[in-house]
């Protein structure tokens, strides 16, 4: 039995920051986890085209930035993994995502199971983050086939040599 502890941030977009009642719409999640002091993984999960699928009537620049979110997140995550420990990573990410595109909440999770091999471990983590994506980002599931298809997340999950274990 292994015990994986992970922390993740929900990323959201607010269309009008000047409006005191302006709402934020979740567009993705990103996090890190460890099961030993040296083995870690990072993951991000976003909509396929967050700019086109946010449900908001966005300006061209916001649409462009949000559609580029997967590569923006990957750049930031790789930078963060180098810069800080897994324990500090989500707070570090929060400092990078403020204003219109921001970290709207931070969470912690624990996963305990007995994988047969590394491949099963990675598959289980992908499932876990897909579930988290459904919980936080897909607030109202689509009813039609086309909508359901578009809800399939854009997911990237990789291992890295962690500097410490999360507790």
């Amino acid at each position: 039995m292994i015990r994986i502890i992970y922390r993740y941030a929900v990323l959201s977009f607010c269309k009008d920051l000047t409006d005191p009642r302006g709402e934020s719409v979740p567009v993705g999640i990103a996090g890190v986890g460890t099961h030993s002091p040296t083995w870690g993984f990072w993951c991000y999960t976003t909509k396929q085209q967050p700019g086109d699928q946010s449900g908001l009537d966005l300006d061209a620049i916001s649409k462009s930035v949000l559609n580029d979110l997967p590569s923006l997140l990957e750049r930031q995550i790789l930078q963060g993994i180098e810069a800080v420990s897994p324990k500090e990573f989500v707070s570090w990410l929060h400092e990078r995502f403020r204003n219109s595109l921001h970290v709207s909440s931070i969470h912690k999770g624990i996963l305990e199971f007995d994988p047969r091999d590394g491949s099963e471990l990675m598959s289980r983590l992908v499932r876990e983050f897909t579930e988290l994506y459904k919980r936080h980002v897909i607030v109202q599931p689509a009813s039609d086939e086309e909508g359901v298809f578009s809800e399939a997340p854009n997911i990237e999950l990789r291992q890295f040599a962690a500097s410490e274990a999360l507790v």
Binding site: T18, G22, I61, V65, Q76, R98, N99, S100
Partner: protein
């Protein structure tokens, strides 16, 4: 209500008459953050950022809200992109704390950490941003004058904002002057006279406009002492002690004409 109307009003009235409370949607200001929060007030249609909402041990001398207010008023007079600020009091569980509210100026605002990597890319975002970077040059003179210590490549103390209905009016805006004007006691006993170039984002230095920088240096040197005195001394003692008022006043007046020397190398080297 436009940014200009609010800025003019807040420049003329240092104390907010409104009662501010945290917004329900904190839009990025997440749990455990003690430094500030998005706030709103009945009868005011705009969101503000209120801080501090937790006192530091040295709050009486640090006087974060008052430093923000002074920087905002000076920037208003000089036509520079710093959000307008008004002073208020925030009710903590342990009592009242002197605070300030800073106007959220644009519906869409991108943090510097997102902006600085997007600029070089041939995207809609990158192309629009390239136009506004050169317009930031006067801020190097301003940050040097007030000894701003928190910009450089800080991930979110500089933002690029715009109204989607008025994209040509987009601006890079400079936030957070709490750690300026000798907050760290460096302006005591004449320390204010040591003027060196403020840390500034490398991307903005790359796009430095020599003429605009020189113009700002001149405007600061010629900025009236009486205006500085009015801006500094009208802060109530609840927000800025008499001792700190005197120190800031002496520093700002004395440093006005020293900015040119501190930026001489930059003014000569940069070509536009």
């Amino acid at each position: 209500v436009t940014n200009d109307e609010i800025a003019k009003d807040w420049r003329s009235r240092p104390i907010s008459p409104l009662s501010w409370k945290p917004c329900q949607n904190q839009a990025g200001v997440v749990e455990s953050e003690a430094r500030g929060c998005y706030a709103e007030a009945d009868g005011f249609p705009r969101r503000v950022y209120m801080k501090p909402i937790e006192a530091l041990r040295d709050e009486a001398t640090h006087a974060r809200a008052a430093r923000e207010k002074i920087a905002a008023d000076l920037a208003f007079d000089l036509g520079l992109p710093v959000p307008p600020v008004q002073l208020t009091m925030y009710q903590m569980t342990k009592g009242m704390i002197p605070a300030g509210v800073s106007l959220v100026m644009y519906p869409v605002q991108w943090s510097w950490d997102q902006v600085k990597t997007a600029e070089v890319k041939p995207t809609v975002h990158g192309a629009a941003l390239a136009k506004v970077l050169g317009a930031c040059s006067p801020m190097l003179a301003f940050d040097t004058w007030v000894k701003q210590t928190d910009h450089h490549d800080h991930p979110h103390n500089i933002i690029w904002g715009y109204d989607p209905e008025d994209l040509p009016d987009s601006r890079v805006v400079f936030l957070d002057y709490a750690n300026s004007m000798g907050y760290d006691k460096s302006w005591r006993t004449g320390g204010w006279a040591h003027v060196v170039e403020a840390l500034f984002p490398p991307l903005l230095l790359k796009y430095l406009d020599k003429k605009a920088l020189a113009g700002a240096v001149r405007s600061i040197a010629e900025y009236p002492e009486a205006s500085i005195r009015e801006i500094v001394t009208r802060n109530p003692e609840s927000h800025l002690s008499k001792e700190q008022q005197d120190l800031i006043l002496e520093g700002l007046v004395g440093r006005r004409k020293l900015v040119e020397g501190a930026l001489a190398g930059r003014l000569e080297k940069t070509t536009t």
